[in-house]
C-alpha cells in the first residue's frame, strides 16, 4: 500500500509525538520511496547503504520537519543532501582506492554509475570534465593527467576542484 503526501505528513507528525507504530509504517514507506529515488542515480549495490544513511538522518533530524508542510519535499531534500555527501565520499575514496588492483563487482553497477555520472559530467566545462574523468575515474595521477591533456599540473588540480564543486551544485539544484 502506498501513502500519499498528506498521509505521510500525518505519520511523521505522530512520530514526532513518539508514536512508534506510525514511525515504523512511515520508515517502511520512506524506504520504498528512497529506493525509487536513488534507482537511476547511483549504482544498485549502493542503494541500500544510502537508503539507510538517509533513514538515519531522517531520524536524527526529525524535529526539522514542519507538520504543516508537505512531507516528500522534506524527505527529498535530505535524500539529495546525503546523495551529494555520498558523491563526495566516492570521489575522495576513488582518489585513494582507484589503482591497478581495482576490483569491479558487476558490469551493471559500472554501467549505471557511468550513466548517472555522464549526465552530471555533461554539465561541466570540457577541461573540468577531462581532468575529473582522467584523475577521479580513470585513476591517473595528476602528472599523468597533465601530460595527457596538455594542462599544467596546477590547472588540472584547479579544474578538478572547480568541477567537483560544480557537480555538487548541479546535484543540489537538480
Amino acid at each position: 500500500m502506498n501513502f500519499d503526501d498528506a498521509a505521510l505528513a500525518r505519520l511523521m507528525a505522530l512520530a514526532q509525538a513518539g508514536d512508534a507504530r506510525a514511525y515504523a509504517v512511515l520508515l517502511e514507506q520512506c524506504r520504498r520511496w528512497l529506493a525509487r529515488f536513488f534507482r537511476n542515480r547511483i549504482p544498485p549495490g549502493k542503494i541500500d547503504d544510502l537508503v539507510q544513511d538517509v533513514l538515519a538522518s531522517l531520524h536524527a533530524k526529525r524535529a526539522s520537519f514542519d507538520p504543516a508542510r508537505p512531507f516528500l519535499p522534506w524527505l527529498a531534500a535530505i535524500a539529495r543532501y546525503r546523495w551529494v555527501d555520498q558523491l563526495r565520499r566516492d570521489y575522495r575514496g576513488a582518489e585513494v582506492e582507484l589503482g591497478a588492483d581495482q576490483a569491479v563487482d558487476s558490469d551493471e553497477e559500472v554501467i549505471t554509475a557511468r550513466l548517472s555520472l555522464a549526465t552530471l559530467m555533461g554539465q561541466l566545462k570540457p577541461a573540468q570534465r577531462e581532468a575529473i574523468a582522467l584523475v577521479k575515474i580513470e585513476g591517473l595521477s595528476i602528472a599523468e593527467a597533465a601530460a595527457s591533456t596538455g594542462q599544467s599540473e596546477a590547472l588540472v588540480k584547479v579544474n578538478i576542484h572547480r568541477g567537483l564543486k560544480r557537480l555538487a551544485a548541479a546535484v543540489e539544484s537538480d
Binding site: 513518539g18 533530524k61 524535529a63 522534506w74 527529498a76 535530505i78 543532501y81
Partner: protein, 216 residues
C-alpha cells in the same frame, strides 16, 4: 546491517521531539543583536544626536537599511534549517539590493563631485575610523553569528554554502548596525564604502567558516 534492522533500531530509539521553530531562531538572533547593540553603547557610547533622539538623516537611513537587511537574512537563514525542495526564500536578496543603494548613491555623488570640480565637505573623505568600524562591527557580528550558528546546528540545513552566506550577511548587517549607533561619521562616502565592505567581509567569512560548523 540490513535496512529492516536499521528501521527496527530507529523505531526502538524513537522519542518525542518538539518540531523546530524558525521563529525561535529569529528571536535568538534578534536578542543577540540587541545584546550586541547594548554592549557597543555601554562600552563606546551613543552618538550625540541619537542620544538626543534627533539623529541625522544619514544615520536613520543606514540604521533602517542595515536592520532590514539583518532581519531579512536572519529570517532566510533560520528558514534554511528546515530541509525543503523547491521553496525559495529570497526576501534577503531584495533587502540586499535596497542596502546597495547606499554605496551606489555614494559612487554617483563622488562622480558628480569629480565632474563639477567642487570641494568636498568637511569630513566627507575622512576614513580614519575604518579600523574601529571593522573591529567593533565584526566583534558584534561574531556574537550574533555565533548565536545563529548554534541554533542552526540543531536544524538540518541542506544548502550549507547558502546558509553560510546568509549567516555572514545577517551577522554583518546587525554587527554594523550596532557600530553605527556609535559611529560619529555622517559621510555618505564613509557609509557607502566602509559599511558595505564590513558587511561584505562578514558575508565572505560566513561563507568560508559557517558550512564547516553546521555540516551534519
Amino acid at each position: 546491517m540490513s535496512v529492516e534492522r536499521t528501521i527496527e533500531a530507529l523505531v526502538a530509539d524513537l522519542a518525542p521531539v518538539t518540531p523546530l521553530r524558525p521563529r525561535r531562531g529569529l528571536a535568538l538572533t534578534l536578542a543577540a543583536a540587541v545584546l550586541a547593540c547594548s554592549a557597543v553603547i555601554v562600552v563606546f557610547g551613543l552618538r550625540d544626536d541619537v542620544r538626543a533622539l534627533a539623529p541625522e538623516p544619514v544615520v536613520i537611513i543606514r540604521c533602517l537599511l542595515l536592520a532590514v537587511l539583518g532581519c531579512a537574512s536572519s529570517h532566510a537563514a533560520t528558514q534554511a534549517a528546515r530541509p525543503m525542495v523547491g521553496r525559495a526564500n529570497n526576501g534577503w536578496a531584495w533587502a540586499l539590493a535596497a542596502a546597495l543603494t547606499v554605496p551606489a548613491a555614494a559612487l554617483l555623488l563622488f562622480m558628480r563631485l569629480m565632474w563639477s570640480g567642487a570641494a568636498a565637505g568637511p569630513g566627507d573623505f575622512d576614513f580614519s575610523l575604518t579600523p574601529w568600524c571593522f573591529g567593533i562591527s565584526t566583534s558584534a557580528a561574531l556574537l550574533i553569528g555565533g548565536a545563529l550558528v548554534l541554533w542552526l546546528r540543531g536544524g538540518a540545513p541542506t544548502n550549507l554554502a547558502r546558509a553560510g552566506w546568509l549567516v555572514g550577511l545577517a551577522s554583518g548587517a546587525f554587527g554594523t548596525l550596532a557600530y553605527s549607533l556609535h559611529c560619529p561619521s555622517n559621510s555618505i562616502y564613509y557609509v557607502g564604502l566602509v559599511y558595505s565592505a564590513t558587511v561584505a567581509l562578514c558575508a565572505v567569512l560566513g561563507r568560508l567558516v559557517v558550512p564547516r560548523l553546521i555540516r551534519w
